[in-house]
Amino acid sequence: MKTDVVVIGGGAAGLGAALSAYKEGVDVILIEQEERIGGILNQCIHNGFGLQYFKQELTGPEYAEMFMEKIKDTPIKILSNSFLHSIDEKNKKIYLITPYGIQTIETKAIVMATGARERPFGSLLIPGKRPSGIFTAGVAQKYMNIQNILPGKRALILGSGDIGLIMARRLTLEGVEVVGVIERLPYAGGLLRNVVQCLEDYNIPLYLSSTVVEVRGDGRLEEVIVSKLDETFNPIPGTEESFNVDTLILSVGLIPNTELLNDLVEIDGTSRGFSASNLGQTSLDFVFAAGNCTIIYDLVDYVTLEGEKAGKYAAYYVKGEKFTGKVPIKKGKNIGILFPNYYTSRDDLILYLRVRRPMEKGRLKVGSLEREYKDLVPSEILRVKVPEKYIENYSEIEVSMEEA
C-alpha cells in the first residue's frame, strides 16, 4: 500500500490529524490497533469535552462521534485491528500486523498519535502482596462503561486527578461504595469543578497529604493502609489508617506511548513524550506527533487542535515544504511541563505549559513577552498564544513563570 500520510492512532489527536491532512488534499491512512476508532474518548462517558472546540459541553463518545462522522464522508482509509510492528525510517515504510496479514505501507509522512498509558500499580513500589482488585482508573472505566462489568463492591481511590475524581462519581452512581480519595499533595489534583461534582456532591472524603503504604489481601484485596505524608512526601509513622476495601483504583499518572520510536526520535526528558516543534514535527523530519504522546493534556480540545496542526504540516511536508530555523524552547523558572520544544516562525507559537507548583499570581515570560496570570495550578494546562514579535530573532526562547 502507498500513501502520503499515515496517522498512527485513531483517538482524538489522530482523528484531528487525519482530517486536517485530508483537507490539504493528500492521501491519508489512519491506523488503529483496537476494533473501533475513538480511542479513550469511547469510554469517557462523562461531560467536559468540546467546550473550546465545539463551544458546547459534550461527553467523550459524542465528541468522538462528531469526528468519526466527518471521517466517514472522506476517502480516508481506516485500518482498525492493525498493530504497528515497526517503522523502517530509511525507506519510510511501516509494517502492520493485522488479521488479514502483515501490511506494508509506503508513506511520505507519519503522524504519531499514540496517546498515553496509565502508570501501573507495580511501578509505585507499594509494599504488600499482589492481590486482585487493584485497577488503574482507565481499566475500571473500560470495564464499567464498555464491558458492563463492575470492578468490586467497596473501593478506595488513589490519586485525585480528574480521572480519579470522575471514577469516584461513576462508581458511586453504580452502587460501589467509595470510601475515600487519597491524594499525596496538599491540594486536589483535578479541576475544582470535579472536586465539587464528584466528591462533595456524594460526600466522598478527600484525604490530602496522604498515600497508600501497604495493600493486604489473600487472593483478593481486603485492606489498604494509608499514611499521612510530611512536607518531603515521606510517610509519618503512627499516622496509618486502615481501609477495608476490596477495590483500589489508581489514578497516579499517564505515560506517553513512545516506545516504538524511542531510538529514532528525540524524547523530552521531563514529559517522556515525543519532542516536537510548534508544527508538530519531531526530530525526524517526516515524523510528526500530537496529543498525549507528546505531553499529557487536560482538555481534549487542545489535543484536537494540535492533532489538526500536525496533520496539516505533515501534508505540507508531503507537498515539498521544508521547515527550517528551529529555535529551541527551554523551561525556565517554575515551569514543570512545556510543549512544544521548538519554534519555527512558519506558524504561531502556541505554548502549553504546567507550572511546577500552585501560584496565586504568576508573571509569564516568553522571549520579550510578559503577561500575568491568576490561580495557576499544576493540574491545569495553560495555553498561551505568543505573537511572533515577542520571539523573533532569539536563538533560544526561555519560558518562565515568576511568582508575582
Binding site: P151, G152, E174
Partner: protein
C-alpha cells in the same frame, strides 16, 4: 507401577518428565490451580554456574550437572535458557579473598571457564558497573532461565507421554499397608500408589511428617524483587552478584529472559507459619534500591514496572534433602530444594530416577518405546520473520490479532494457552507473557478476560486472576 508425585514445581515437573520416559502410571498432584505456582513462579530465574556450594554437598554435585543438562533439555522441551555469564564483584582485598575461595570451590565442582578479572576487563564486559569494583569472578556458564516456562514445558511433555496432572487438590493423608504407603489421600480424591515422591516444596516437611517419613524442617525465606522495564534492558548483560556473605548470595542485578532487568532478592527468614507471606515490605524494597545502586549506580528506578516476593524453602542442613525414606520404603523425599534448585532440577530428576529409584531402591524401570522426547512451546509469532508471520496469518487470522500490545502477543497464542491448561489470567500470562510488559495488563487484561470467559463458557466475573479467591470482576453494571 503407580507413581504419585506430590508438588508441581520445578522439581516435581522435571521428575515427572524424566519418569515419563519409562513404562509407569504417573500422577502429579498439585494443590494450587496451576503448576509452578509456588517458589517456581517467584524467584531470580538464575542458572548458577556452580561455584557457590561446598563440594561435598548434593547441591554442588547436581548444580553444574543441571546447568549443562538445561541446555540440552531446553532444546528438546523448547524453554528459554541463556548463558549470559555471571560476575561476582568485589570492592576490596577482603572481597578478593572470597572470590578466590569461590574459584577454588568452583574448580572442585567441575565448573568450567572460571576466572578472576580485574580493572578494565570487568568494565569491558559491563560498562555500567560501579567503577569502584576492583575484582570480579567471571563464570561463563552462568545465566538465566525462565523457571515457570521450564516447569510448564516439562509437564506438557510429561502429559504427552502419559502423565496424569491433578490440579487444585491438596494431599492431606496417606493410607499405609505393611509399612508402605498404599494410598495417597487428597481433599477431593484417593489415589492408589506404589511409589510416592514428595516434591512439595515449602510444604515438603509437612507432607513427610504426615507420611511418617523422616524429614527436615522447612522454614520460609522471603526474597523481594523489583522488575524494571525493557527500556533499561542492556544496562547489564550478565548476572551481577555482589560479594556473597555467609547467609546469602546477596541482592543482584540481572537481565531477564524477556529483556527486562530484575533486582533482588532480599533474604529474610520468616517463621514457619509464614510460608504464604509473599508480601513485599518497604524496608525490603528500600534495601534492594540501595544495594543495587552500589553495583550499578546509573540504575533508574523510575523504570520499575513490578515488585514481587517469592518464598524459598530453607532448611538447617543447608543442602538438598533428596533421600529415600528408611522408615517408609516407598517414599522418596525431594525437599529443601532452594538455590541452586532451579539449575539443578534436571540433574535432580536423573538422580532420583537413576540413583535412588533404580540403583538404591532396586526398582526395575522399563524404557518406553513410544516416548515423545520433543515438546514445542506455544508459537511466538512476534519472533518470526515478518514474511513467515504473514504466511501464518493467511492460514490463521487470529495469529494476526494482537491482544497484548506491549509484548505483541496474538489471540492465537492466548487460545493455545487456554487449550494447554490456562484457566485464569495468570495461567494465560505465564504461558504467553501477555501482561508482563510495561502496561502490566492495563490494555490487554480486559480482553484476555473476555477471551477466557468465551472459551471456558463462563461469565466474565467467574474468571480469576489465579487462585480461587482472586476474583476480578463483580457482576454487571446493568444486569
Amino acid at each position: 507401577m503407580k507413581v504419585v508425585i506430590i508438588g508441581g514445581g520445578i522439581s516435581g515437573t522435571f521428575i515427572a518428565r524424566e519418569l515419563s520416559k519409562y513404562d509407569l502410571d504417573i500422577t502429579l498432584i498439585e494443590k494450587n490451580l496451576d503448576i509452578a505456582w509456588g517458589t517456581t513462579k517467584a524467584n531470580s530465574g538464575i542458572l548458577h554456574a556452580g561455584y557457590d556450594d561446598f563440594p561435598d554437598t548434593l547441591r554442588a554435585k547436581l548444580c553444574a550437572k543441571g546447568n549443562a543438562l538445561h541446555f540440552k533439555l531446553s532444546e528438546e522441551l523448547d524453554y528459554d535458557v541463556k548463558r549470559t555469564g555471571s560476575l561476582v564483584v568485589a570492592f576490596d582485598e577482603a572481597g578478593l579473598k572470597t572470590l578466590e575461595e569461590l574459584l577454588k570451590r568452583g574448580k572442585k565442582n567441575n565448573v568450567p571457564g572460571l576466572e578472576i578479572l580485574k580493572g578494565e576487563e570487568i568494565f569491558e564486559k559491563e560498562p555500567h558497573l560501579n567503577r569502584e569494583v576492583k575484582y570480579a569472578l567471571w563464570a561463563p556458564t552462568g545465566g538465566i532461565i525462565e523457571s515457570w516456562g521450564a516447569a510448564i514445558a516439562a509437564v506438557e511433555n510429561a502429559i504427552a507421554n502419559g502423565l496424569k496432572l491433578i490440579l487444585g487438590e491438596k494431599v492431606i493423608d496417606f493410607e499405609r499397608k505393611n509399612g508402605r504407603i498404599s494410598k495417597v489421600i487428597t481433599d477431593k480424591n484417593t489415589y492408589e500408589v506404589d511409589l510416592v515422591i514428595n516434591a512439595a516444596g515449602l510444604y515438603g516437611d509437612e507432607i513427610a511428617k504426615i507420611a511418617g517419613a523422616e524429614f527436615i524442617p522447612i522454614y520460609p525465606r522471603r526474597g523481594e524483587y523489583i522488575l524494571l522495564d525493557k527500556k533499561i534492558g542492556g544496562i547489564v548483560n550478565s548476572v551481577i552478584f555482589p560479594t556473597p556473605t555467609e547467609k546469602s548470595k546477596g541482592i543482584l542485578v540481572l537481565p531477564t529472559i524477556d529483556g527486562g532487568i530484575l533486582l533482588g532478592p532480599t533474604a529474610e527468614d520468616l517463621s514457619e507459619d509464614q510460608k504464604e507471606n509473599t508480601a513485599t515490605s518497604s524496608y525490603g524494597l528500600k534495601r534492594i534500591i540501595e544495594e543495587t545502586k552500589r553495583l550499578v549506580p546509573s540504575l533508574d528506578i523510575s523504570y520499575a514496572i513490578k515488585t514481587f516476593a517469592g518464598i524459598r524453602a530453607e532448611n538447617p542442613n543447608k543442602d538438598f534433602f533428596i533421600k529415600e525414606s528408611e522408615k517408609i520404603p516407598n517414599f522418596i523425599n525431594v525437599i529443601g530444594i532452594r538455590s541452586p534448585g532451579l539449575t539443578a532440577a534436571p540433574a535432580i530428576a536423573t538422580y532420583v530416577v537413576e540413583e535412588i529409584i533404580q540403583d538404591r531402591l532396586k526398582i526395575n524401570l522399563e524404557k518406553k518405546k513410544t516416548f515423545i522426547s520433543k515438546r514445542e512451546r506455544i508459537k511466538r509469532y512476534s519472533e518470526l520473520p515478518l514474511e513467515e508471520w504473514n504466511e501464518e496469518i493467511k492460514k490463521d487470522p487470529l495469529s494476526g490479532k494482537i491482544i497484548c500490545y506491549c509484548n505483541m502477543v496474538t489471540e492465537r497464542e492466548i487460545l493455545e494457552a487456554i487449550r494447554r491448561g490456562a484457566r485464569s489470567l495468570d495461567g494465560v500470562k505465564f504461558r504467553t507473557r501477555a501482561s508482563f510488559g510495561r502496561c502490566q495488563g492495563n490494555f490487554c487484561g480486559p480482553r484476555i478476560l473476555e477471551i477466557l470467559a468465551r472459551e471456558l463458557n463462563k461469565d466474565l466475573s467467574e474468571i480469576t486472576a489465579g487462585s480461587e479467591k482472586a476474583w476480578i470482576l463483580n457482576g454487571r453494571v446493568r444486569p
